[in-house]
């Protein structure tokens, strides 16, 4: 199988079998490329990385503000009060905005630590099944926090590499299990091992294609 390309085009190599299970016309490799249309207009059934990031931005992260403000009553809930020097939890979208305006300092989540991530990566490589990840949005959060607040996070580059390695291993496992799912013409699969990334259904967005090909 082709490794995950970094550029944004995703090549998924899948074998196509004819419906009666015999070789038939022989097995053919089907390559599918995810089209990159303008955001928001992809076919229903897939989630774009930007949308996964949008959902990830709702997660809470701790910041230390340098301003003071009393409680804010947002539609989605209450935040604050903000006092200089006192840590407070806010959603990532707000944390990043405040950081860009230099109004706060971000505290990395406790799982964003080199040793913990090394452990997770090694376990992921060892096991055949998926390891439970510390956050369903670990990939998006890493990208966001390291892009905007890398000065607040120690050993940012190492963390980036570790998370990318773990991601690659998981995506490879996902593709392998999807491939065997299609080949064995399964009707149902239960994800037994922790939670999958949000992006999983998008990576497997081409999933609909092989099933149609096989005439299921």
């Amino acid at each position: 199988m082709d490794p995950a390309a970094g550029s944004g085009a995703l090549w998924v190599g899948l074998r196509r079998r004819s419906a009666n299970g015999e070789g038939g016309r022989g097995t053919r490799r089907v390559r599918v490329r995810c089209r990159r249309g303008p955001p928001g207009c992809r076919a229903p059934g897939t989630m774009e990385p930007a949308e996964a990031e949008f959902l990830a931005e709702k997660e809470l992260v701790t910041i230390v503000p340098n301003f003071s403000l009393d409680r804010i009553h947002l539609i989605g809930g209450d935040l604050g009060p903000f006092n200089p020097g006192l840590p407070v939890e806010v959603p990532v979208w707000l944390a990043i905005n405040l950081k860009q305006r230099q109004k706060c300092r971000l505290i990395p989540p406790e799982w964003m630590d080199v040793e913990k991530l090394e452990e997770i990566r090694d376990q992921e490589r060892k096991e055949d099944t998926f390891t439970p990840m510390p956050s369903p949005y670990y990939m998006e959060l890493t990208k966001l926090l390291l892009n905007y607040a890398s000065d607040n996070i120690p050993k940012a580059d190492e963390i980036r590499t570790l998370v990318k390695d773990t991601w690659d291993t998981r995506i490879a496992k996902l593709r392998l299990s999807a491939d065997s799912f299609v080949k064995q013409q399964e009707a149902h699969a239960k994800v037994r091992w922790g939670r999958l990334e949000r992006f999983a259904s998008s990576v497997l967005g081409v999933f609909q294609m092989p099933c149609d090909c096989v005439g299921l």
């Binding site: 949008f54 989605g76 707000l94 799912f181 009707a187 239960k190 994800v191 259904s201």
Partner: protein, 242 residues
């Protein structure tokens, strides 16, 4: 039992620094004592909007329309907008509220856009389903969407007639849009997360050698299964598509 979020009371004051900030929500008890209405806080309302958005995004067919959620969300956004207009400029709170409004507005418009894409894609089937709907069943189209779908159908028919059909021999001048436009593929696979435990879901066999079997869906587990099998669970809110 349909959930009907109540109109949520907002505080009278605007964004004054002294008084209440923006929307204060109160959960009023149901004055008519009806058992059908469910009181939702704005946070729950936004969560249910996001759930509806994700379900609509991943489902291959057009799902039930949720006019009450949309109405309440628009009301909240308008209320907050009005508050922001009255507030003094340059305040940090104003920008935070504004950001949140933009985020909610994005989810809402993405949801509506997704529905419109599906309506345009499957318009004869959507209209047919609406026509053959029983009296008490919930509608899959809001009144505006219904008007849009009808207009789209009329325009497509006129276009086909003017561009091609009227030049055909008389016995070939009819085309059945219901037959020619592809139907939504209900057999496509979807990922889902279980919100409420379900038992004995029947999974049909894929090949002739397999037999059908039943599975139980535990709360919080994730599955990959054909949409057709779990379509009613999506409608009832027992599972969430991911």
């Amino acid at each position: 039992m349909r959930a009907r979020p109540r109109r949520l009371a907002g505080s009278g004051g605007g964004m004054a620094a002294a008084g209440g900030e923006g929307m204060r929500t109160e959960q009023e008890p149901d004055s008519d004592g009806g058992s059908e209405e469910l009181v939702l806080t704005p946070a729950q309302l936004i969560r249910s909007l996001e759930q509806a958005w994700l379900n609509e995004k991943f489902a291959p067919e057009l799902l039930e329309s949720k006019p009450e959620i949309i109405e309440c969300v628009v009301e909240q956004l308008d209320h907050m907008d009005a508050n922001l207009k009255r507030a003094k400029k340059g305040d940090l709170k104003v920008s935070v509220h504004h950001m949140e409004i933009e985020r909610i507005r994005y989810v809402l418009s993405s949801y509506l856009r997704c529905r419109l894409v599906k309506i345009e894609k499957f318009f004869p089937h959507v209209l047919e389903k609406e026509k053959s709907r029983a009296e008490g069943e919930p509608s899959i189209l809001s009144p505006e969407e219904f008007a849009f779908a009808k207009e789209y159908m009329a325009n497509t028919e006129t276009y086909l007639k003017n561009v091609a059909l009227k030049h055909m021999p008389p016995n070939l001048q009819k085309v059945s849009l219901l037959k020619s436009v592809p139907k939504p593929n209900l057999d496509s696979f979807v990922f889902l997360r279980v919100l409420e435990r379900q038992e004995n879901i029947l999974v049909e066999p894929e090949t002739d050698e397999q037999r059908e079997y039943t599975i139980d869906l535990e709360e919080g587990s994730q599955h990959l299964i054909r949409y057709k099998t779990i379509a009613p669970l999506v409608a009832s809110g027992a599972v969430q598509l991911i």
